[in-house]
């Protein structure tokens, strides 16, 4: 019994000791005096005038990112900056991957948010973030010099990075639209000369490849557990002029998806789809492709890095345009802006923070970023400076003239599953009635849209002169009914 007691005492002592050593070195607490509204959001904080740089004092700029794949390069770039600006500005570069957006909002409410953070299209709802005073417009800081690299007019996407005149982040990189990625050797083996131009051709080719594959190689792959619908089916619908939202009438309409769902279901029932696709995550799919077991799959420019460094492809692979329903391109292919640096409202020194954004978006940093193959640049000025020989494969993903950023239609939450989940499930080989499913989906989304517009949660977007191939000259009308 004595022994028992003694052990606990030593345990306690060790623990306390450990505690003091570990906790003792945590950084001193900043006073958290951010006023808070009931929902834990910050009321407008006038911090722009405050904290003007004191001479001779090093300013710390806290930068967050959730990208780990470019970490090595970014850390090098940050170290260069810190060395050059010693005594003036010091970047603290933190990678937070899990719960990223949650962490930012919580950081704001506890006054420990980053000064600037890396973001991309659709990572958070811009309007909510702006309304809750999490981020601030960059307009007052943007210099002429910056505008010469980044064409702000072309890079402003309403409700994605811009609200009216206010621009909240300037994307430095652009993910390409999706492409069809195919195994050249399997195409040869199946006697197929060129990648498919139409969806029925794709279905046909997938079948042929599977037939000569001898139960090892399959025609096509889609990762059922990682955004399956968005990889091949949705882009193919896009270029065929089919989308979930009827911009002209300002309501949802899913009826156009039927042929795409039927084609996918056909590939399942004909066995052209790699077994297990329904529960596959994207990485196993990539590996099976790199091993030469899959004829075709679809993804955007990030696959270059994956198929050359992470899962080096063991055969020659090609990149082709996403096939449309009938070979005609009737709609734009969605290509999303990436790697933008947003400034929070709790920034300590906005001038210093802007300098950091400017540096991270500069030619110096971005050219290297693109040459490393992390992404395509959003700026043609950057692209011109890039050594093309270093990005040969990436160049195959280069911008097509029918690629664009779609106008952000109102995002509503219907009673039931999200539309991409429903549509993907309709693709699976079951006896689910496609017409009925699409009809119900349209109905539930429009009910939700009506309800949420009424509540004032969202606004109905109507584009009377909607052109599915070109959005830059459209007139946006937002309705409260």
């Amino acid at each position: 019994m004595k022994l028992f007691k003694k052990k606990w005492v030593t345990g306690l002592l060790t623990a306390t000791l450990l505690g003091t050593t570990l906790v003792g070195c945590s950084s001193p607490a900043n006073s958290s005096n951010a006023p808070k509204s009931e929902e834990g959001t910050i009321k407008k904080e006038v911090s722009k005038e405050e904290g003007v740089k004191e001479k001779g004092k090093e300013e710390k700029v806290l930068v967050w990112t959730n990208n780990r794949h470019d970490a090595e390069y970014m850390q090098q770039v940050v170290a260069d900056f810190n060395k050059k600006h010693e005594g003036e500005i010091n970047i603290e570069f933190v990678i937070n991957t899990d719960n990223y957006i949650n962490l930012i909002t919580m950081g704001i409410s506890s006054n420990q948010a980053p000064d600037i953070f890396c973001t991309m299209a659709n990572q958070f709802d811009l309007k909510s973030f702006a309304d809750s005073n999490i981020i601030q417009p960059l307009n007052p800081y943007i210099t002429e010099e910056f505008k010469q690299i980044y064409d702000l007019k072309a890079l402003s996407y309403e409700a994605i990075n811009t609200l009216g005149e206010d621009i909240y982040y300037v994307p430095t990189a652009q993910r390409s639209g999706n492409r069809l990625i195919y195994n050249k050797e399997l195409f040869q083996k199946a006697g197929i000369a060129a990648p498919p131009k139409t969806l029925p051709e794709l279905v046909e080719m997938a079948k042929k490849i599977t037939e000569v594959g001898g139960g090892v190689q399959y025609g096509v792959g889609m990762p059922g557990q990682s955004f399956a619908f968005s990889r091949l089916i949705e882009p193919s619908a896009q270029v065929s002029g089919v989308g979930p939202y009827d911009y002209v009438n300002g309501k949802y309409d899913f009826s156009g998806y039927k042929p795409f769902i039927e084609a996918t279901r056909q590939m399942f029932t004909e066995g052209s789809m790699i077994p297990g696709a329904a529960t596959m995550k994207v990485d196993p799919l990539r590996v099976q492709f790199s091993e030469g077991n899959i004829g075709m799959y679809s993804n955007a420019s990030q696959e270059v890095g994956v198929l050359t460094d992470q899962f080096p492809a063991k055969m020659e692979w090609g990149v082709a345009e996403i096939p449309s329903l009938d070979g005609q391109i009737k709609g734009a292919l969605s290509a999303l802006p990436q790697v933008g640096w947003a400034m929070t409202t709790t920034v300590k020194n906005p001038e210093a923070a802007w300098k950091v954004i400017e540096y991270l978006s500069s030619l110096e940093v971005m050219v290297g970023y693109v040459e490393k193959g992390y992404s395509l640049p959003s700026s043609s000025v950057v692209m011109e400076k890039v050594d093309q020989s270093k990005i040969s494969k990436l160049a195959e993903f280069g911008k097509k003239d029918y690629e664009s950023v779609y106008p952000q239609f109102p995002q509503v939450t219907p009673q039931g599953k999200g539309w991409k989940d429903v549509l993907w499930e309709a693709c699976l080989p079951t006896d689910m009635d496609i017409d009925k499913t699409l009809e119900e989906l349209t109905k539930s989304y429009n009910e939700a849209l009506d309800a949420e517009v009424k509540m004032g949660k969202v606004k109905r977007l109507i584009i009377k002169d909607y052109d599915p191939l070109n959005f830059s000259n459209s007139t946006y009308t937002y309705l409260n009914e």
Binding site: E39, D125, F229, A278, M280, Q288, G416, T430
Partner: protein
């Protein structure tokens, strides 16, 4: 045999005659209960109340919109997925307990005896419980892989199956596959609890039973089970609560699929509140998630009450 029963009865009556020492709150009692009460209030009740107010709202994490009883209307009239998930939750919990409880009890009893290598076995059976669910579920995800997966390949090499099985993608077997992972990850846990419970049984009882010529099986049913009574009840209740709340591993393995076949209550709540990591991130539905969570808690509460009632009856039998 008769000495054994009488000896045991004597021991048992000792336990039963001991009612709690009556009395109100006094200083030592207050001091000893205070941390529990404070922690309960702060860590459990407060967040629950915080959440509860949103059952009348549409809340996406930033803004609230008062919608009255719409959330309840939706749960009860227009949410077939949820009610499917309720059935699946009980199916999952039942299957999980059906296997984990007997396995862990047997293993604990066996490893409580002087057996060669028992320490090694104890360590091995414990290892799964120290691997976080997020990681071990991924391991099984790879093992189960229908295309070129190690399990399918092995079974085919042995000639047990002729074609690969889609362990997680087929509606018919996805639930079983998920339950196997749950058994793997869970039985070590309950083994530990049972081992601890077994320590409260005096070795002398077994010795006297042995002298009386009782077989191991006999002493298991006539000594171990009754003597474990209180702790058995506790472990069972714990196991039920855990099983009904499990969702992490299912989230990694199937994400609730195929076609909601493995969707369970709290995975559904999680997806409403935090979004579905496998598909497009829609708006969060915290208000509705809170409502579903509340309804689920009530359902589980009823299940517990039934269990407690039944276990009281069990007490009377022994």
């Amino acid at each position: 045999m008769s000495t054994l029963t009488s000896g045991f009865n004597k021991y048992k009556s000792k336990l039963q005659n001991s009612k709690g020492i009556k009395g109100g709150w006094d200083i030592p009692l207050i001091l000893m209960m205070l941390p529990t009460i404070v922690l309960l209030a702060v860590v459990s009740i407060y967040p629950f109340m915080w959440l509860l107010k949103y059952v009348f709202y549409d809340y996406n994490g930033f803004k609230t919109y008062f919608i009255g009883l719409d959330n309840f209307k939706r749960v009860f009239t227009n949410d077939p997925i949820y009610w499917k998930s309720v059935v699946h939750t009980f199916e999952y919990a039942f299957l999980k307990l059906l296997f984990t409880m007997p396995i862990s009890l047997m293993v604990a009893v066996v490893l409580n005896h002087h057996l060669k290598g028992k320490n090694l076995f104890r360590i091995i059976f414990f290892i799964p419980t120290v691997i976080s669910a997020a990681v071990y579920s991924l391991i099984f995800y790879f093992i189960y892989s229908p295309y070129n997966g190690i399990l399918n390949n092995m079974l085919m090499e042995w000639g047990w199956i002729t074609a690969p099985i889609d362990w997680l993608g087929s509606s018919a077997i996805a639930m079983s596959s998920v339950v196997i992972v749950a058994i793997w990850g869970g039985f070590g846990n309950y083994m530990i609890l049972f081992l601890a419970g077994l320590q409260s049984i005096s070795q002398e009882v077994y010795e006297s039973a042995d002298i009386d010529g009782a077989s191991k099986v006999q002493s298991f049913f006539q000594i171990t089970i009754p003597m474990l009574g209180p702790i058995l009840k506790v472990v069972l209740l714990l196991a039920i609560t855990t099983a009904l709340k499990d969702y992490q591993s299912i989230m990694v393995l199937t994400g609730g699929g195929p076609l909601d076949r493995t969707q369970v209550m709290f995975l559904y709540v999680y997806q409403l509140m935090f979004g579905n990591e496998n598909s497009a991130a829609g708006q969060l539905q915290i208000g509705y998630g809170a409502t579903v969570g509340l309804v689920s808690s009530i359902i589980i509460g009823i299940a517990t009450a039934v269990f407690l009632k039944l276990s009281k009856k069990l007490d009377n039998i022994y």
